[in-house]
């Protein structure tokens, strides 16, 4: 599908009773606020620069293993986070660096985790695919495609069991919709009304495979039809739209306790992981998407609204760059885990 198809409404998808992200919501106030918008802009720049440094560090062989970055997908990560409360839970797959930071984990602890340091957010046990923070309610960082989805249903179950009005956001990739576990988890969430917001990070590719070659449907939100689950699609290259839409969805979920499947349309600029040259995508396709770049889009909006000049935007980007460098510098200084750690935390007392 061409980027044009991604704008809301054109999908004919969201069921009528669903929020429309029509800007009438409380969220709309924020998204018209200058300070708020500038802050969002800065965070997206920071995430972009953070991942760029991660890639450089990997190329310099400062760490190894797999490395999946979010470059190009910042709009979703930031837009969703702003729609949540700190007490809400989040769980994701192996592409987890910036989502972890957005949820409140210090960027330097994420960097230290990548470097396998004792002060990483998983003590160096987890690495790129397994960022965790119990305090921030970030439940990982999981390496098995689709594996996190049943876990999310369990968190939703616990929220309902404890009669809280929190929700859990469960990110999954577009290719994960072909996993049986995804289907089983959505069925339970829909049958028992568990407050789970399942967000498909739909960057259209699972590694080198266009999702069209492994599914029979044109829109991934159709997976929700099998469960009569509320669902919708959002243009996640647009951080403001994403924020407003998700805010409405979440507000609604807190009332109804009903789960929701969101097809979030985005694009990853880099290969699947560092080892992937990404030859399966045409220059044209890439270009088509880069014009929709979430940072550029918001930048244009800020300038049009006279909220910022090019210089001011540049300054915010520079700030993000420096934060990322500081994160890496800190991580460089950290000690590796002590050998004894090998035998710790296999079993809890």
């Amino acid at each position: 599908m061409s980027p044009k198809d991604h704008v809301l409404g054109k999908t004919g998808a969201p069921k009528s009773e669903l929020p429309k992200g029509n800007g009438k919501s409380s969220a709309a106030k924020n998204s018209q606020d200058k300070a708020w918008l500038l802050n969002v802009y800065e965070e997206m720049c920071y995430f972009r620069r953070f991942e760029e440094r991660v890639l450089q560090a990997y190329t310099k062989q400062k760490f190894a293993g797999f490395c999946h970055v979010h470059i190009g997908q910042e709009g979703l990560c930031v837009g969703v986070q702003r729609a949540l409360r700190p007490t809400d839970y989040m769980i994701t797959g192996y592409r987890s660096h910036t989502q972890a930071i957005a949820k409140g984990i210090a960027g330097r602890e994420v960097f230290a985790e990548l470097f396998g340091k004792a002060t990483g957010c998983a003590k160096g046990n987890g690495g790129s695919m397994h960022m965790f923070s119990k305090e921030k309610r970030f439940l990982g960082g999981h390496g098995i495609v689709g594996g996190q989805v049943p876990l999310a249903s369990g968190v939703g179950f616990a929220i309902k069991y404890e009669k809280k009005d929190d929700i859990i956001v469960c990110y999954l990739g577009d290719a994960a919709v072909n996993q049986g576990q995804f289907h089983e988890a959505l069925n339970m969430a829909a049958t028992w009304n568990l407050p789970c917001l399942f967000i498909i990070e739909n960057n259209r590719y699972g590694m080198g495979t266009d999702i069209k070659r492994t599914t029979s449907i044109d829109h991934l939100w159709k997976r929700a039809l099998a469960f009569d689950m509320d669902h919708g699609q959002v243009d996640a290259m647009n951080v403001v739209k994403t924020y407003e839409f998700v805010s409405d969805v979440v507000e609604n979920m807190r009332k109804t306790n009903r789960p929701y499947l969101l097809d979030a349309i985005c694009y990853r600029y880099k290969g699947h992981s560092v080892s992937d040259p990404g030859l399966y995508r045409s220059k044209e396709e890439m270009a088509q998407w880069m014009v929709k770049d979430p940072i550029i889009q918001l930048g244009e909006h800020l300038k049009k609204s006279k909220f910022a000049t090019d210089e001011e935007l540049k300054a915010l980007d520079t700030k993000g760059k420096e934060r990322a460098r500081a994160d890496e510098d800190w991580a460089d200084e950290q000690p590796p885990p002590p050998d004894e750690q090998v035998w710790q935390n296999v079993y809890a007392d």
């Binding site: 839970y89 769980i91 990483g120 957010c121 998983a122 003590k123 160096g124 046990n125 987890g126 397994h130 965790f132 923070s133 119990k134 439940l139 990982g140 960082g141 999981h142 390496g143 098995i144 594996g147 989805v149 049943p150 876990l151 999310a152 249903s153 369990g154 968190v155 939703g156 179950f157 616990a158 929220i159 069991y161 404890e162 049986g180 576990q181 089983e184 988890a185 069925n187 339970m188 049958t191 710790q344 935390n345 296999v346 079993y347 809890a348 007392d349």
Partner: protein, 326 residues
Amino acid sequence: MAVLTYREALGRAMAEEMARDPKIFLMGEEVAEYNGAYKVSKGLLDKFGPERVIDSPISEGGFAGLGVGAAMVGLRPIIEMMTWNFGIQGFDQIINHAAKMLYMSGGQFTVPIVFRGPNGAAHMLAAQHSQTVEGMLTQVPGLKVVTSCNPADGYGLLKSSIRDNNPVIFLESEMMYAMKGEVDDAEHLIPLGVGSIKREGQHVTLIAWTKMVARAMACAEQLAQEGIECEVIDPRTLRPLDEEMIFNSVRKTHRVVIIEEAYQAASVGSFIAEQIQRVCFDELDAPVMRVANEFVPMPYAENLEHRVLPEPERIIPVIKQVLYMD
């Protein structure tokens, strides 16, 4: 001292623990309104209501994972697998998620959960319904694996399993649910990792767990007629394993036969045999022998099934062999 069936003892353990701790819930196929496919959860729905006793869809991977997620945020799930043959569909969640969560997260997320259900052959259920899983699951760091061979052990060990802060695989048996035995009326727990000597003897050590303990005892009785005194020991928890109890018995008898419902393949029995020959090398008067299932998928026909399982007529000759009586 009340006489309870194995199924009642397990049900009592769950009822007591659920009454003690509101964070505990039970989920599985048919556990609520049907009172359990094998009636182990009989009465729990009435006692604790539909919020805490939940009939699941037939989604072993899904509800195993749901349990793990719920445990990560503070609940204490008991997940019933109608049988462990179906639990294999939950292996990804049990092996890749439950077992590794604490370690992967650098010690942040504990997963206090019990996966329980019948394991091994029942009677004429054929290949897809007659498997044991302890040989596979004791290989996974992060999991504890618990068995029991009578109502009292089942009661005390299930309670400890529910209170444990780790994922525990609790293995039962359809063939034992109706077994009767005395269970102390007073609440009591049996710690995980402590085996039990079911019969003392000085000539040969028989190691067995779950329904194989009864077979070992039967063989011991029979051999006692011939003046052979078998020591029958049941490790009960296979992970952690009470190796000291095993080694001490071997140091006394110098002869060992392991009886298990597994295969002549990598198994808990083969691991125990390996440990014994390593630690008690100079103590052994005969090789460690093992009587296990024939290495075939379980056949349906009664005569064939009987031929596959470790029956006394196959066990006794092996015991005599390590005693060099053949």
